[in-house]
């Protein structure tokens, strides 16, 4: 429990927690979504990307961490404790409806602190200010979400989640609806913010480049029922520094191509099975 964020409003922030999947399966009615028992250890502070084709069960796995769905069998442990229903320790950022339209940007960021009794109003305000600054939205604090761009709205959601000080940060295709340039900017910022905050992060996407740019580690899923095709240590492949030169580097290109082949090969195989 170290103060990883500096002065965030007289309240030390939780460092990330470690997370563990133990033989998790999930069936909706009679439909198996995660059929093969899924096990995974995620150390504290790691940035993990779940990458895979549409419908392979990424969202389902993420929702189970958040406590929004429960595993059909197996369990998920946070810092050694089985997770229950949703709470403030697992913060979630959705792709759509991410910020509350009826609240100003500042009130959105303060939303997660609203339910805390151990902070004064001034402390909440100060802390919200810190995170608004962190995502570069201080000038828009009193704007409403409908008046700012889609990328800014996602940044509001990220700031709001961080301000609530969760142990893990869960993001389900948060940049899915944004154009390419904006996406790249936000990826860069998110990576920086994540390293600064030290929050264990799980990020879902089906964009290979996004995955490689952001991740310490990528879990590549095959199409349903969900199956892990690869567990890639991106940190040791490209190192911790992520900037625009990385995108143009040969290494980046090769990793990207390898993953694409992996995904395509799986698709081709599935096609042959079907034929």
């Amino acid at each position: 429990m170290s103060n990883t964020l500096g002065n965030t409003g007289s309240m030390p922030d939780q460092a990330g927690a470690y997370l563990r999947f133990e033989s998790v399966t999930k069936t909706f009615g009679a439909v198996p979504v995660v059929q093969e028992p899924f096990s995974l250890d995620i150390p504290a502070g790691q940035f993990v990307v779940f990458l895979g084709p549409s419908g392979c069960g990424k969202t389902t796995l993420m929702r189970m961490i958040g406590g929004l769905d429960t595993p059909s069998s197996g369990r998920i442990l946070l810092q050694g404790q089985p997770v229950g229903g949703p709470d403030i320790r697992r913060g979630m950022v959705f792709q759509s409806y991410s910020s509350f339209p009826w609240l100003s940007v500042r009130k959105n960021v303060e939303f997660g602190m609203r339910f805390r009794r151990d902070m004064t109003k001034a402390q909440k305000r100060e802390r919200a200010g810190y995170f608004l600054d962190l995502v570069g939205l201080s000038d828009f604090a009193s704007s409403y979400p409908s008046r700012i761009s889609g990328g800014m709205r996602q940044r509001v959601a990220i700031a709001r989640t961080l301000a609530a000080d969760p142990d893990v940060l869960l993001m389900d295709e948060p940049f899915g609806a944004l154009d390419a340039n904006l996406r790249e900017d936000l990826q860069y910022e998110l990576r920086k913010i994540q390293k600064k905050s030290g929050k264990t992060t799980i990020f879902v996407t089906h964009d290979v480049e996004e995955a490689v740019f952001l991740a310490d580690r990528i879990i590549v899923f095959g199409s349903r029922p969900a199956r892990v095709m690869a567990d890639m240590d991106i940190l040791s492949m490209v190192g911790p520094v992520r900037d625009e030169t990385l995108r143009d580097s040969e290494r980046f290109f090769h990793i990207r191509t390898d993953i694409l082949h992996l995904l395509r090969g799986r698709l081709r195989e599935a096609g042959q099975e079907g034929a």
């Binding site: 979630m92 959705f94 409806y97 339209p101 009826w102 939303f111 339910f115 409908s146 709001r160």
Partner: protein
């Protein structure tokens, strides 16, 4: 040239037009209606006893206002509409929210409410008179009956339409399910809720006239019905127009209020 092209622009499919054009179009619409009416009377298509000219109706309207018939009766109708409407909203809003928030309550009440809301209000007038006589209670009861059951279901639907992501986001930000009622459900549904209430207020106007025609000695419905007995078609029409104007005015005020309260929404 530019006039022609900008006029063509007005007819482009699903395209915004200047405010000015909107105002002019509305005015033209009203004037062509009045024009057609005037023409029909001027050409003696219909006898004046059935369709008096716009001028005659306007005069009747003015007389009714001047000799103190219109205003007191309009106020009576307005107060009936609003008391019945408030009475139904005060119960319907919490109940609708409960029905949508707790699915079991919804399952319990929905078929029943669905049944009652299909009962036509006029068919219940005799029953209301048997129960309450011809006093104020009967009218309020009829109006309440006509709006309450519709409104409950609309409120429940408004709440159901709040995206699940809002609730789930709130949970992962530390809100307990009950706390999301005030912090998420209500603010998220409020614009819709206000629209639903505005619509049900409109229904109240329909029913108040029925109630006043059948069982009343005051109110605009009574005024119209009395004028009919003496075949004063101009007064009947003046009364109808007054109801329309009150409705239009109320609706526009509520719309303005809506736009002011929910100006955070994208336009």
């Amino acid at each position: 040239m530019s006039g022609a092209s900008s006029f063509g622009g007005l007819l482009r499919f699903r395209t915004a037009v200047p405010r000015m054009a909107v105002g002019v179009a509305a005015l033209l619409g009203a004037m062509s209606f009045l024009g057609a009416w005037w023409l029909i009377v001027a050409l003696h298509v219909v006898a004046p006893i059935f369709l008096p000219s716009p001028a005659t109706v306007a005069r009747a309207f003015w007389t009714m206002c001047a000799d103190g018939v219109a205003m007191p009766n309009a106020l009576i109708s307005i107060s009936r509409v609003w008391s019945a409407f408030l009475l139904s909203a005060i119960i319907a809003v919490p109940l609708g929210i409960l029905m949508s928030g707790y699915r079991i309550i919804g399952a319990f009440l929905e078929p029943l409410i669905d049944f009652i809301r299909y009962l036509p209000v006029p068919a219940l007038v005799p029953l209301a008179i048997i129960w309450f006589g011809v006093g104020e209670e009967t009218k309020i009861f009829l109006l309440w009956l006509g709006t309450f059951f519709q409104l409950v279901l609309m409120v429940a639907a408004d709440m159901k339409r709040v995206p699940g992501e809002y609730f789930e986001t709130a949970y992962t930000l530390g809100a307990k399910p009950r706390q999301t009622l005030g912090t998420v459900a209500l603010p998220a549904m409020l614009p819709q809720l206000m629209d639903s209430m505005r619509i049900s207020l409109g229904w109240c106007w329909t029913y108040v006239i029925i109630a006043e025609i059948v069982a009343s000695d005051s109110g605009l419905g009574f005024v119209i019905w009395t004028a009919r007995r003496f075949m004063k078609t101009d007064q009947v029409m003046a009364g109808v127009i007054m109801i329309g104007l009150i409705g239009l005015l109320t609706d526009q005020c509520l719309r303005l209020l809506h736009r002011f309260l929910f100006r955070y929404q994208s336009s």
